[in-house]
Subunit: 425 residues, 2 copies
C-alpha cells in the first residue's frame, strides 16, 4: 500500500501558537484516494532538523508532503535543506512563478524586490507546480529507487492553509497518476445515549463476528455520541460498501433508535433532517444550558425553517414571567425538578407557537442546591402527544456538563419528534 | 535545555477525521515553563508503530508526552505497548482510579463492567496520576539514565481533550519538580476591537523600543481578541515581572479601553468582573447569534448573580410577540437594521428587568438578504444611559460569523457597562 508522511515545518506550531489544520486536511484527502498516512510530524525550521527528519521520512514512505518554511524570510533554510537532500548544486528561476510573484506585487502596487525575486528560485533538482495563490512555488522532488530502496517523492507546499489547500488537487492528481493505489472504503453510523463501554458490551457479539478484513473503530464525542466506523482496505467500491452495509444492517436491531444517522453527523442536523419539509417547528427553554441548545440548533444552515426561538430563563422571575411557570410549582418541587422542566417546555411552546419544544433545568456547577447534586439535569419535551420529562446525572465540570446536558436534551427532543412523526403517518 | 516530544496515538488523526488540538495546548504549556518542544508526532495505534516511535522519541528527548489510545474498547492498545517498552511483566489495579471509575459510572446510573474495571489496570512499571475527569488513568514511566543515555520520562494522557487538559497541571508540576528549568516570565494583556495587522501598526514604535531580552508575541483568537504576551527568559521573578509591567504601562495609553484584562482572559469573564458585586444585571436578545451570547455569558461560574436570561428570537413573530419589537419598525427598516437591534435590546431589558442588555440581528450565512451582504450584523446595547447601536461586517463563513458576531456583541456590551459604571462613581 502506498504510504505517506505529512510534515509541518516551523516553530509557531511547536510552541503551540497555532494549531496545525493543514495536516488534517491533507490526510483526509490522501485517505480518500487510498494513500495510507503513516505519520504526521512537526519540527523546527533548523537546517539539521529539516534534513534529518525528511531523510528518515523519505526512507520509510513513498510520499512525503511538507507544509511551511517557505516564507520570504525563512526561504533560504527550507530550500537549502531540500537542495542538500536532493543533491542540487544550483538554483534556477521558475519563469512561471516569477510571473505570478510580479502580478501579486503589481496588484498590491508594490515593486519587485530582490527578496521577492528570490522566491521564484528553486533547486535545479525539482519540478515546479506554480502556486497561484501566493509567492512561494510548490516544489516536487522525485528520488529514484537506488536512493532509499524504493522510489520516493517529496512535495513541498506553503504553510498558509489557503495556499496549501489550493495546491492540493494538483498534488493528488500527480500521486494518482504515478501510483497504483489501493482503495479504502469507510462507512459510519452515529448513535447516542450509551457510553462507549456499555455500547461495546451491547454489540460485542456483532463485533466479534465481523469478517477479519472489516475494521471497527469507536469515535466518541460528548456532543454527538459515538460514531461507529467500519473500514475495508482494497477491493471493489460497490461490493465492499455492500458488505459494510450488510454488517450495519445486522447492527441496527441491536441499537434501535439510538442510531440517528448513517453518515458522520450531529444531533442538531438529525433534528433538522426530521423537521425539514414537514412544516413542524421547534423552540427551547433553557436554564442550566444557558443558550447552548439554541446555539446548536441554529448552527445548522437553514434552521430558520423550523427553529422559532428560545428563552434562556436563568433567573426565577424570568421563568415565571416570560415562560409562565407557576411560582407554586417552583416552591413545591424546587427549580430543578420534573415539574419545572415540563412547565418550561410547555411555556415556551405556548409562547412561540411551536409544534415541539425542549427545556432544561439543572445544576451545571460549580455547586449543587442541597436537594440535587451538581451534574443533575431535568429535561422536558413537549409536543402534540403531551409532555415528557427525564432526569440525567453527569459529573462536576461546568463546561462539560453544559455540553452533555445540551446533547442529552437534543437527543430527547429527537426521539420525541421521531416517535411523533411515525405516529402521524 | 530540557527537551520534549508530544505524540498523539490513533488513526482518527492520521485519516484526517479529527484535528489534533491537544498537542498545541500541551506545547503552549510546556513553553511557558521553559521546556523546548522539539517535535510533535502522530502515528497509528498499532503495537509496532507505538513501540518504534516512542523508543525513538525517548532516545532523543528528556520528556515524551503521549495522548490517546487509552479508551476502554478494543481499538486501543497503547497500554500493552507501554508495558513492553517499560519491561513490565504484570498489570496492577490502581485502587484510586478504580474508585473514580466506579463513581463516574455510579453518577450515570451504570454498572461496573469488566471492561470498565480493566481501565484501572496499569503496568506495574508506572506511577499513576488519577484522572478525575475520566476513566483512563494517567501513567508516568520513568526510565533511568542507563536505558537511553539520559534519564527520560513518559507521560501517557487520555486523548479526550477535556481529560488531557485537566491532567496537565499535575504533569507540569511533576516536570518542574524534577528538572532544572530556565525560568520564563510571561505576562499578557488582552485586547479586543482591532485586527492583528492594524494593532501591530498602532503599537509599532512601542514594539521597536522594547529591550532586546523582552520578547513580544501576538496570540489572536476570534472569540477573545488579541493576546499580547511579553516574555523574559531567565532572571529573578519579581524584577523581571516589574520590567514587563513597566512596558505594559507604556502600552496602555496606546490601546485605551480596547484592553479588557491584564491576564489571559475572556470577554465574558471581563463582563463578570465588572458586574459582580454591583447589583447590576444583564440580559440578551439574539437573532443571528442564536444563543451563543447567552452561552458565553453563562459559561462563567457564578454568572447567575448578574445574568437574568435571554430570548433567541429567530422567527419574526417571536421578535414581535416576546420582545415587543413593533412590526412597523421591521417593515420599514428591515429585520437587519439599527432600529430592530435597538428595539430588541430595549425589549429584552423590559421583559427581564435587567440593568443592561445586548442584542444582535444579522446574517451569519449562508446567504444575505438583498439589502445586506452575508456577514453583516447590527448590535444594540441598552442601559441607564440610553440605547446605542453599531454595525459590523465580517466574511461568509456561518460558524465563524456566529463566533465573531457574539464576541463583538460582548465587547460592545463591555464598553457600555464600563462607561456606565465610571459615570456612576
Amino acid at each position: 500500500m502506498t504510504q505517506a508522511s505529512i510534515c509541518t515545518i516551523g516553530d509557531e506550531i511547536l510552541i503551540g501558537q497555532i494549531i496545525d489544520t493543514n495536516s488534517s486536511h491533507i490526510a483526509a484527502s490522501l485517505e480518500e484516494i487510498g494513500v495510507r498516512v503513516t505519520r504526521m510530524l512537526s519540527f523546527s525550521d533548523e537546517h539539521g532538523e529539516i534534513t534529518r527528519n525528511l531523510l528518515r521520512e523519505l526512507g520509510q514512505n513513498d510520499i512525503v508532503i511538507t507544509t511551511g518554511g517557505l516564507g520570504p524570510t525563512k526561504d533560504d533554510i527550507t530550500k537549502a535543506a531540500l537542495a542538500e537532500i536532493s543533491g542540487s548544486k544550483a538554483y534556477v528561476e521558475s519563469a512561471e512563478q516569477l510571473a505570478i510573484v510580479r502580478s501579486i506585487l503589481h496588484c498590491r502596487g508594490l515593486d519587485l524586490l530582490d527578496i521577492n525575486r528570490a522566491q521564484a528560485l528553486v533547486p535545479d533538482t525539482c519540478e515546479v507546480i506554480p502556486n497561484r495563490k501566493g509567492t512561494a512555488p510548490i516544489m516536487v522532488f522525485r528520488f529514484p529507487e537506488e536512493r532509499f530502496g524504493h522510489s520516493a517523492t517529496l512535495y513541498s507546499l506553503p504553510g498558509v492553509p489557503y495556499e496549501a489547500l489550493a495546491a492540493l488537487p494538483e498534488i493528488l492528481a500527480d500521486i494518482q497518476a504515478r501510483h497504483a493505489l489501493t482503495d479504502i472504503f469507510h462507512k459510519s453510523i452515529m448513535c447516542f445515549g450509551m457510553a462507549e463501554s456499555a455500547l461495546s458490551k451491547r454489540i460485542e457479539d456483532w463485533e466479534d463476528s465481523l469478517p477479519e478484513d472489516i475494521y471497527l473503530a469507536y469515535l466518541p464525542n460528548p456532543l454527538t455520541g459515538v460514531r461507529l466506523r467500519l473500514s475495508i482496505y482494497g477491493g471493489v467500491k460497490e461490493e465492499e460498501e455492500k458488505r459494510i452495509d450488510a454488517e450495519f444492517e445486522r447492527l441496527k436491531p441491536l441499537l434501535g433508535t439510538m442510531i440517528y444517522s448513517l453518515e458522520d453527523d450531529t444531533l442538531e442536523n438529525a433534528i433538522g433532517s426530521l423537521l425539514r419539509g414537514t412544516g413542524k417547528t421547534v423552540s427551547a427553554a433553557e436554564s442550566c444550558t444557558g443558550g447552548e441548545i439554541a446555539h446548536l440548533l441554529t448552527s445548522v444552515p437553514g434552521s430558520s425553517e423550523y427553529f422559532l426561538g428560545s428563552v434562556t430563563s436563568y433567573a426565577i422571575p424570568v421563568k415565571e414571567k416570560v415562560l409562565g411557570v407557576p411560582g407554586e410549582i417552583i416552591n413545591t418541587h424546587g427549580v430543578v425538578s420534573a415539574e419545572v422542566a415540563a412547565a418550561m417546555a410547555e411555556g415556551v411552546k405556548n409562547l412561540t407557537g411551536s409544534t415541539y419544544s425542549v427545556a432544561t433545568t439543572g445544576l451545571a456547577g460549580p455547586s449543587g442546591d442541597g436537594d440535587n447534586p451538581v451534574g443533575t439535569v431535568w429535561i422536558g419535551v413537549s409536543g402534540p402527544h403531551g409532555t415528557e420529562t427525564v432526569r440525567k446525572r453527569y459529573n462536576d465540570d461546568r463546561k462539560r456538563n453544559i455540553e452533555r446536558f445540551s446533547a442529552a436534551a437534543l437527543d430527547t427532543l429527537r426521539q420525541y419528534v421521531l416517535k411523533d412523526l411515525i405516529n402521524c403517518k
